[in-house]
Amino acid sequence: MILHELMTYETLRLIWWVLLGVLLIGFAATDGFDLGVGMLLPFAGQSDVERRIVINTIGPVWEGNQVWLILGGGAIFAAWPPLYAVSFSGFYIAMFAILAALILRPVGFKYRSKRESARWRRNWDWALFVGGFVPSLVFGVAVGNVLLGVPFRLGSDLRIFYDGGFFGLLNPFGLLCGLLSVAMLAMHGAAWLVLKSSGTVAARARRYGSWAALATLLLYAAGGLALWLFVDGYRITGAIDTGGPSNPLAKTVEIAPGAWFANYLAHPWMLLAPALGFLGALGVLWSLKTGREVRTLLLSKLAIFGIISSVGLLMFPFILPSSIMPGASLTVWDASSSHLTLFIMLVCTVIFLPLIALYTSWVYKVLWGKVEEKDITEGGHAY
């Protein structure tokens, strides 16, 4: 097979780094509002009918949205095997918490309204809250810890050893990022609820959404400041072969204050990303006060896009730095799968991702419109 030689290994790695971002942003922008709605459920909905309205705003779409997470897992496995291996085994208990929460979520949606008992329903409502809150928090905590550097080392046969525990993740900076993630996805969930509901539910969603947008702004600013003041960055010293074999042990890395901001200083256009993060969240705050619901949701997506890509750009070319063995840090240039695999996966992605976008938009169009009380009480198709 010669076809894959058409694109250099370096180009493919760069494309897959972008696609990694696309997947994370795709997940946060779609399943993110499902998580947010889950977090808001016990608050935005007070009566049983209101809560069923809240659930049914995402009822038909959460399954499809969640595939972004599954696809994310699969694509990281395929394109960045060392990243998949190190991060999932390193963050083991955190991953378990996410999985446990994510198991509760689909089951909660589907099973909650199948019985009349008020206690049964109340318990599932809180399970759904946990199912939204815990993954949102843990994802953010994980990103914060990636920025700090993760305590893993690699043996000469690239066996992975992790020298930290779960509670090590819960440091102040990690928690700050976790709260930012919670606020951001709660904002997104609120923007979705405002679009898909009316009356008191929508009014409550507006109120919570404003608070969440404000919290997003403040926490994002605080996170940036903390990163600037307290967190050392990583940089590659000496040469690295951007088209070389994927062996993270072939380079040297140093930890240096301010290194995380080197990319922004060298390429000021990258500052567009954090700017979009701030503007998006500010926009949500403003747009929630007007009646333009679609615009609010789009602005919220813009904020998510800006915030997530600002982290990716800042770290480039690092994707998972090691705090105890900096040379073993995973970077875009030495943690990918083979040239051929990257090419094949790119071909598949180029074919299928547009198709997915096409039919997903069609489904959203079919389901367009607000969920009203009569949709719950009549018809019998609601959760």
Partner: protein, 525 residues
């Protein structure tokens, strides 16, 4: 079992995979049955078929949701518990998982929402299309998962790269068109179709016995029995194909399934029943059927099937070759560049590299395989024998149920063609009692395929002992307890909801009928 990291990781994987596999077969089959029923509705316009689609759809939904929830765990568990595996074969194994998401699961999960919520929002054809998308998506999903799994059983199209210390793909088409994967795919989805057919049959038979929902039950039986008969026959044929293939690629698994310790002169006899004994390395009280094993395994009367003892000798040779390859690899690693690797090491690695996985079997006993003693080599060779009694019995349970299902389906095809259900109430009772069987067969099948793959995670390439993450025992005990707790609670809830929905039965459906086509097409006429 010892409480070490590898055993506990295996236990957790087995628990979560077996549990996930409680829901998958029904999803695979029921999605197709729903598509069939709804097609009849759209073509004939008869309300009863819409009611059937909705009723079985409700049960489908209760089952589907747990399949999705437990599937997430499967997707992430390789990285969590099997990080060296993920590093070592991610270049090949990750791709089918990702393509599964792109091509299949997105389709399935996006349209399943429309299946439930789209009845009033879509035209008849539009909704039918959504149902087809779910059925196609879930079956394609199985295809890609089994391509990944087939590669674990028969790793083709990849080789070891000393620069990256892992397996890398050189021919992706070999991975996709791996005939082991293709056979296992058809065998597994057919088993799923049988599961759904037995499920529909059993529930409908119960309705007939109770005298409830007779129209719905009779029609459901007609669909399920004919679809189920075809599938049940296909399961047996493809299972036989699998046995044939195993004789080429997984001789040890086949020998263990048969409890065949010594190589027999061709054609080998089939041990119908017996009590295999791992210590004595023989079977007690065995009943043999002459010729049958040779015919299944080789489709010839002259070819020999190697027995366990012979295969252990071969494994020992391969371990010794593997040590040579492992030794040569150390020269690769020590050399500053590829050109600096001594020529004899390059030659040794090229010659014996395919056996390097066998040397890794020794990592159970020594850190460096080159330092293994003769006893350890002999012990490691014996480790290539899976637990014979487990395989022996799991296989017989699976095959027994497979044949029973063919008979059950055939009987119901006849009964439903003659509309003579009530003349044979015992048959209806049998169908109700048989409800559990496809699940038993599916779990037994998983045990034969995956437990039978031991001690390998990737056959001949990476032993399970070398594949696990560097976790701690308390951590693993915590997550095993956690998964067990969550899964136990959920299965109880699932069963209760399922039974409640069956007891409640199909709901009267007076909703307005959707137009056949979207209104804009109708308006254009």
């Amino acid at each position: 079992m010892e409480l070490d990291i590898v055993s506990l990781s295996r236990l957790q994987f087995a628990l979560t995979a077996l549990y996930h596999f409680l829901f998958v077969p029904l999803t695979l089959g029921l999605s197709i049955l729903l598509a069939v029923m709804e097609t009849v509705y759209v073509m004939t316009g008869r309300q009863i078929w819409r009611q059937m689609t909705k009723f079985w759809g409700t049960l489908f939904g209760i089952n589907f949701v747990l399949g999705v929830a437990t599937g997430i765990v499967m997707e992430f568990q390789f990285g969590m518990n099997w990080s060296y595996y993920s590093h070592y074969v991610g270049d090949i194994f990750g791709a089918p998982l990702a393509i599964e998401g792109l091509m299949a699961f997105f389709l399935e999960a996006t349209f399943v929402g429309l299946f439930f919520f789209g009845w009033d929002k879509l035209s008849k054809l539009g909704h039918l299309m959504a149902t087809y998308a779910v059925a196609i998506g879930s079956n394609f999903s199985a295809l890609w998962i089994l391509i990944a799994n087939g590669w674990m059983q028969h790793p083709v199209g990849a080789h070891f790269n000393p620069d990256t210390m892992r397996m890398e793909v050189y021919d992706f088409f070999e991975v996709v068109f791996n005939h082991v994967a293709q056979t296992r795919f058809v065998h597994t989805v057919s088993a799923g179709y049988v599961t759904a057919s037995v499920f529909v049959l059993g529930v409908s038979a119960w309705y007939l016995l109770k005298g409830r929902h007779i129209d719905l039950a009779k029609r459901s039986i007609t669909v399920a029995a004919s679809f189920g008969l075809l599938s049940a026959v296909s399961v047996v044929i493809l299972g036989d194909e699998g046995g044939y293939l195993a004789s080429e690629h997984q001789k040890m698994k086949l020998a263990a399934i048969e409890g065949m310790w010594e190589t027999q002169p061709a054609p080998a006899s089939f041990t119908l029943v017996g009590i295999p004994d791992m210590e004595e390395r023989t079977n007690h009280f065995a009943i043999h059927i002459p010729w049958v094993m040779g015919l299944i395994g080789t489709r010839s009367l002259t070819q020999e099937i190697p027995g366990i003892l012979e295969l252990v000798d071969k494994a020992e040779d391969r371990i010794r070759n593997g040590i040579i390859a492992y030794d040569a690899l150390q020269d690769y690693r020590a050399a500053p560049s590829r050109d600096a690797v001594p020529a004899e090491s390059v030659q040794a690695f090229e010659e014996h590299g395919a056996d390097m996985g066998y040397a890794l079997l020794l990592t159970k006993y020594v850190d460096d395989p080159r330092e293994a003693t003769e006893e350890q080599i002999a012990q490691a060779a014996w480790d290539t024998v899976p637990h014979v009694p487990t395989l022996f019995w799991a296989f017989r349970i699976m095959v027994g149920i497979g044949f029973f299902n063919v008979a059950l389906m055939a009987a119901f095809v006849v009964v439903s063609a003659r509309n003579s259900f009530y003349r044979r109430p015992w048959l209806l009772k049998t169908a109700v009692a048989a409800l559990i069987l496809p699940w038993v067969a599916a779990e037994a099948g998983w045990i034969v395929a995956e437990f039978g793959r031991q001690p390998w995670s990737i056959e001949g390439v990476l032993p399970t002992v070398a594949a696990a993450s560097s976790l701690t025992v308390p951590t693993l005990l915590f997550t095993i307890a956690g998964f067990t707790l969550i899964y136990s609670v959920l299965i109880v809830i699932e069963m209760r909801l399922m039974l409640a929905a069956i007891r409640k039965g199909p709901q009267p459906d007076h909703g307005p009928e959707a137009p056949l086509l979207p209104s804009r097409f109708v308006a254009a006429e």
